[in-house]
């Protein structure tokens, strides 16, 4: 187990270097960040040249990347072109994103698995068909449509929720955006759970559990669900990584100042340090989330052992 974890951590190094370099090169290829700083107006050539010199943009790409990586290992993710350290920006953005993640993830787990179990146990009946149709609709509609519609209905028309999230992002104002963010994954979780429940309910060990005279509830929770959730948890784990990477669309709709919001701003302004800094952190978070899922897998299924 320990060796497995170490090996996985070591594998992260090349992935980490590769992804950061690709991002670095891609942002670089987007165009001249100095020009972007000035918006529509053309900058004074002398000022522009000076800025380029200051920001180290005249060095070859590989040198710029090397300098940047040097910074990362001393805990310095660089400074945005507007003068703010990227770490500061992350510190303001991350708590909000984490809160949103917790809300969305809770929706996914409770509603997604709940619907999946109901529909898997009642295959072919009305409840099942209802869940299948609903989830299909949710999956096929883009998030920004769901987001704007729910924002209008709940936030504006009926006034049941905050239409936009105020400064500080209190939990209750994140309920609606959290649901919007969770909606598609929730639908997938419900469908995945339904399939595995339906499959496993025919399994021999479920028959054994029934033959043992266990109450139906115990057969479902202790025997059926415990086995059926293994693939669902894999999906949830990867999704957790994605959620922590911020939600560009949802955060824009509800004006949430999380990771997605700042990342979007960074991309818009071609702010290389912001984008690369954020993505670097996201890559690490995602890799760790994946590792966590793989380890969890072994906990859930004793037949899997890592050496």
């Amino acid at each position: 187990m320990g060796r497995y974890v170490i090996r996985r951590l070591l594998q992260m190094i090349p992935v980490f270097i590769g992804t950061t370099f690709i991002i670095f090169a891609m942002v670089h290829a987007l165009g001249d960040p100095v020009a972007a700083l000035f918006g529509d107006k053309a900058p004074d050539p002398a000022v522009a040249a000076q800025l380029r010199q200051q920001l180290g943009l005249n060095d070859p790409l590989i040198v710029q990347y090397g300098n940047y990586m040097k910074g990362i290992f001393t805990g310095d993710l660089g400074t945005t072109f507007s003068g703010q350290p990227v770490t500061e920006l992350l510190k303001t953005a991350y708590p909000t994103t984490l809160k949103l993640t917790v809300v969305a993830f809770t929706f996914e787990v409770i509603i997604g698995i709940g619907l999946g179990v109901i529909s898997g146990m009642r295959r072919g009946r009305l409840a099942d068909t209802g869940v299948m149709v609903m989830t299909l609709i949710v999956i096929s509609i883009p998030t920004f449509v769901i987001g704007y519609v729910l924002q209008y209905l709940f936030g504006v028309k009926w006034g049941l929720a905050d239409a936009t999230v105020p400064e500080g992002a209190p939990i209750q104002s994140l309920l609606l955006p959290g649901f919007v963010l969770a909606s598609v994954s929730l639908a997938y979780v419900a469908r995945l759970t339904r399939t595995t429940i339906a499959e496993n309910s025919k399994a021999d060990y479920v028959r054994t559990a029934v033959a043992k005279g266990l109450p139906r509830r115990r057969v479902i929770t202790h025997h059926l669900l415990r086995n059926s959730l293994i693939p669902v948890i894999t999906f949830l784990g990867t999704d957790l990584g994605a959620l922590m990477g911020g939600a560009l669309v949802t955060e824009r709709i509800f004006n949430i100042h999380g990771v997605g919001y700042y990342l979007y701003q960074g991309i818009l302004r071609q702010n290389t340090p912001t984008v690369v800094g954020f993505v670097t952190v996201l890559v690490i978070v995602f890799l760790l989330a994946n590792l966590l899922v793989d380890l969890l897998y072994a906990v859930l299924d004793p037949r899997i052992r890592y050496a």
Binding site: D204, A211, L300
Partner: protein
């Protein structure tokens, strides 16, 4: 037909095989089970009668699809429903018709008073729980025992069924056991609450031959120790011979022959049973071609009219295609009754005596 052709009704025949003395532990009467599938109704069990007394072993023999497993699942009340439905008959267990009980009452009987051992212990045990948890679950759910006490009981059970180092192995998972040991755990689980009846559905099919013998021996020993009734479902004539008291042979959802175990081997009274016995390889017939029953088991959606075995039967006559044979009481050639024998063949006399 011969001169002594005295047809006996199925009931009379059964009267001799079953409740002659005290009331049996389990009595299945005219049980009918069907599966309602998309392709039509498959009649899996068509009027099956049998009985088991305490301490007695009944072997139900048949090919796959003969209804032997389905009838026992109906007895346990674990039939997959839908598509399976019990459409008729009675299952009298300790004087009570189980089919009239509420599902909650039946659940409480399962595991405590009747238990089942399944064929493939690897898939029948839950892969994500330790064997100790799964064994202890019986005590925790039915007896409300504490966790630690249940574990102690699990270790005791494992020792009882001959699993070495039970104390350490109680925390292991099913996949960490060998096939024979896993089947022992299944047996231990069925035995946990000392039920009156155990149904073993092909308990040794998934095991290799030496382990088969050990497991059967264990099962027989435990049965004698606790004076349990045992229904042994199998397609293996070899397994049955040593442990069973009586045999019921099933074909296409009906019992076609009943007999005390050694009687059946000595002189079968149904062409199907004879075919089965003839298709066992024997040392004294080395070099000869092995007999096989021609044809395939019938499709349960379209069971042949008359005797279901008629398309495969070497003795089939016109009557076999039109009339379903009742379970005749089988007698000696001079008409003397034979205890517990019945054959659902129009020509049982020719089969056994001629």
């Amino acid at each position: 037909m011969g001169i002594h052709a005295t047809e006996v009704t199925a009931d009379a025949g059964r009267g001799r095989t079953a409740d002659s003395e005290d009331a049996p532990l389990l009595q299945v009467k005219n049980l009918q089970v069907e599966f309602r599938t998309r392709d039509g109704v498959a009649k899996a069990v068509n009027g099956v009668n049998y009985s088991v007394r305490a301490g007695e072993t009944l072997a139900i023999l048949g090919e796959s699809g003969s209804g032997k497993s389905v009838s026992s699942q109906a007895v346990m009340g674990i039939l997959d429903s839908p598509p399976g439905f019990v459409t008729g008959g009675e299952i009298v267990f300790k004087g009570e018709d189980l089919l009239k009980l509420s599902s909650e009452k039946r659940r409480k009987i399962r595991g405590t008073q009747m238990a089942m051992i399944f064929q493939d212990a690897l898939s029948s045990l839950n892969p994500v729980h330790t064997v100790g948890t799964q064994l202890g679950e019986m005590f925790r759910v039915h007896r409300g025992t504490s966790k630690s006490e249940a574990k102690k009981k699990a270790v005791e059970l494992m020792e009882r069924v001959g699993i070495p180092a039970a104390k350490e192995r109680v925390n292991q998972y099913p996949h960490q056991f060998s096939g024979g040991m896993r089947q022992r755990i299944m047996i231990a689980m069925a035995l946990a609450l000392e039920p009156d009846l155990i149904i073993a559905d092909e308990p040794t099919t998934a095991l290799d031959v030496t382990v088969q013998a050990q497991v059967m021996e264990l099962l027989a020993d435990l049965q004698a120790e606790y004076n349990m009734g045992l229904i042994l479902i199998t397609h293996d004539l070899g397994v049955v011979a040593d442990v069973a008291d009586k045999i019921a042979v099933m074909y296409a959802g009906r019992i076609v022959e009943t007999a005390p175990v050694h009687e059946l081997y000595k002189r079968p009274a149904h062409p199907y049973t004879r075919g089965l016995l003839d298709s066992i390889p024997r040392l004294d017939q080395k070099g000869q071609e092995l007999y096989a029953i021609k044809g395939l088991p019938p499709n349960l959606l379209r069971i042949p009219s008359g005797c279901a075995f008629n398309p495969r039967c070497p003795m089939a006559q016109e009557i076999c295609r039109t009339e379903i044979p009742p379970l005749h009481a089988v007698t000696e050639a001079d008409g003397a009754p034979i205890q517990g024998r019945g054959s659902a063949c129009h020509f049982w006399k020719e089969t056994i005596h001629g």
